[in-house]
Symmetry: C2
Subunit: 426 residues, 2 copies
């Protein structure tokens, strides 16, 4: 009910909504009719045990069946011929005839096509086919079936196998009309443009709707991949620094005074005394170094009461911070940062191809390129490059954002696609 | 100056303070006298280059010498005969004669004894011996020397080797009297008791002083070890869950409403609107599960405006949280928790012996014991054990803290020292 009341905020076209509502009503009536008018047919279904809604009590820690579910992402050609059990969200439901239907199940970034064909040999009845197509999108569904290889490559799913369904159970039905249609939410700009060229108008899910129904929006493959990449970056950040003798710490976030000048603070009351939220772990990292830790890092929230609306100003973000004792030269820090970034880039390229490709489908980006040994430019070399390109910088002056970006482009042109220049420009 | 003004807050006895001050004054005068009255002696020192204060400019990224510093913790018998360079804090300075002195250097949890003996062969002058003993405690010192094996085991240091000093340079001098004496701060209760029995009164560093001078208190070996153990626990928590397909997330801490009933919230203003600090990542973990992540964990701060002063009530702490989809039985969660704790315990026992021993010296504890496959008791079995021991629990009632503790003791007695009972008591 709350979801429906909120629907006005969604950007689904009213036409679509009405259409969906009519469809749902029709399906509801049809299923009622079925139950009332076809008791004979129901009784006649020899395979009634092979499908149906699983009552809530059944999945509330009643029994341990010992069954094991295969991840949809793991279904590949090697699984052909195997009988598998999978659980996923019903992404698309496509009835072909009374005797045949397709159901695409999704689990995280992966989708697989499940094929239902009524046949006594397979234990699949026409009622079972009807049951499968009566499911609402995003319902959680268990499918048991045999993995087969399709004759032609599948375009609509990530997995290049099909499941010949033997059993299908609904664990939890979604409401008939969701505020976000996942296919709409997962489209790239290119798809929108292509549709427009064809005179077709696709539904766009806007930012507010995405945030209002975050739990649904999170299900798009790109979001699934982005969160996984974030976790990989943090893991590698920690792992690399730990291997370089850094210790992970957690510094206080509720503090007695502002921790850094320049940024605005969130103030609050702490047992009758004024307090604020940490804008940076800086002070605590430095205390750790004075405290004899030598090298520390922290991954944690940073709070800044910023009123600027740019992508560089956030009220709350996760900071990946590091601090180290320098023995004799600040190049020691540069070398660590260099090694850190190369390690992270390398890890992502080697371990997150699937995630990167998934993000790339919705939000295209250039591939990550870097040198094993990072290019180091001195300040003078950088200034010289800018000067030659017509940008004048005051002697010993700071580089502003514009100049920084330009230098990045110049470096990329000159050194063939090197995206990463270390902060060693003194 | 600030440190001195604050000394009244410290618990160092006034007697000790005066004594220290007198000593420092004397040392200062002596060094002045030395510099003023013995120019000949200074000039006559052929080995003047082998010791001295390093001027600040020298260590400000002037040059990369290519030298490498050995960690004090790595100095073992295998290093005997080798020439090493180490950097540490001067923990104790013990002049034996004009020609001989001992300096103990500390780095994190490790200490090593450095021996200075004036000898032309070694390039060590009496002036160098005097220089070394003129250093104030906690000064940062570089020592170059040859590793030798002592005739008898060393009691005062962790490393069982000595350094025959060839060169000694002070990187940064500490003020003569510090608010916390590290030896005082690192004592165990047993040492205090023993001293008292001998009629000796040792200085106790109280909690307030420790917190007021946290950067110094952090240097005690036990604190060094505790922070390292914390980091290891977090690493293993993440590593184990990640290997079980959990994804690490970071949920918002600044939120629009309270995230959990029962606990008090910190309120603040967010751009003119009421907001509060998250008391739990619960809601966001659940949204992640609904969002299709399947399994998530989070390590991050939790804020509770608690007014209770117990060790179970904290205003800010780091929560190690996990949330997972259950397929059919909550034992799936129990098994993950079980595996997680065993993995953490195992990791600590196998990789953190040095840290555990270091903590044990100041804060003795019983060794960590656990079963590879965790003992599972049903609720009924637990209640039966309590009943037999004379504690009556209402049928199907919750166990209160007292009963929980008692059951822990009973399990430990019955199953020979098993500390870990899984939360599977339904």
């Amino acid at each position: 009910e709350e979801l429906e009341a909120d629907l006005s905020a969604a950007t689904i076209s009213k036409k679509q909504l009405k259409k969906d509502a009519r469809k749902a009503e029709k399906a509801g009536k049809a299923s009622q009719r079925q139950q009332q008018q076809q008791p004979q047919a129901e009784e006649a279904d020899l395979f009634a045990a092979n499908y149906g809604d699983v009552p809530v009590e059944e999945i509330q820690s009643k029994a341990i069946s010992g069954r094991s579910w295969t991840d949809i992402g793991d279904l590949d050609e090697a699984a052909a011929g195997r009988s598998v059990l999978i659980r996923g969200s019903a992404q698309t439901l496509r009835p072909v005839s009374k005797k045949m239907a397709f159901v695409v199940l999704r689990q995280s970034m992966s989708t697989v096509q499940c094929v239902l064909v009524a046949s006594a040999d397979a234990g699949v009845s026409t009622q079972m086919v009807r049951f499968a197509t009566s499911l609402s999108k995003e319902s959680i569904v268990d499918v048991e079936g045999v993995v087969t290889l399709p004759k032609e490559p599948l375009k609509a799913t990530t997995q290049q196998v099909e499941i010949q369904v033997r059993k299908v159970y609904c664990i939890n039905r979604a409401i008939p009309t969701l505020p976000i249609n996942l296919e709409d939410a997962a489209r790239s700009e290119a798809e929108f443009e292509k549709a427009e060229q064809n005179g077709e108008k696709l539904v766009r899910v806007l930012q507010d709707t995405r945030l209002n129904y975050r739990a649904i929006d999170l299900r798009t493959p790109a979001n699934q991949a982005i969160f996984r990449i974030q976790c990989h970056v943090e893991n590698k950040f920690r792992e690399f620094l730990f291997s370089e003798n850094f210790i992970g710490i957690h510094s206080p976030k509720l503090i007695g005074g502002s921790s850094e000048g320049g940024a605005s603070v969130f103030k609050l009351e702490y047992n009758g005394q004024p307090a604020c939220l940490a804008q940076s772990p800086q002070l605590y990292k430095q205390m750790s170094i004075c405290g004899g830790f030598g090298r520390v890092f922290e991954v944690g929230p940073v709070f800044r009461a910023e009123k600027s609306n740019t992508h560089r100003h956030l009220c709350e973000f996760i900071g990946l911070d590091a601090e180290m004792e320098i023995k004799e030269h600040y190049f020691e820090v540069c070398d660590i940062i260099d090694g850190l970034f190369v390690a992270i880039f390398k890890h992502l390229n080697e371990n997150c191809q699937k995630e990167l490709e998934t993000i790339n489908r919705q939000y295209p980006f250039e591939p990550l390129k870097y040198l094993e040994k990072t290019l180091k430019l001195t300040y003078e070399e950088g200034i010289k490059m800018l000067k030659e390109a017509g940008t004048e910088i005051e002697p010993m002056g700071d580089l502003n954002t514009e100049a920084e970006k330009k230098l990045g482009r110049l470096v990329k042109e000159k050194y063939v696609d090197i995206l990463h220049v270390c902060n060693c420009i003194t």
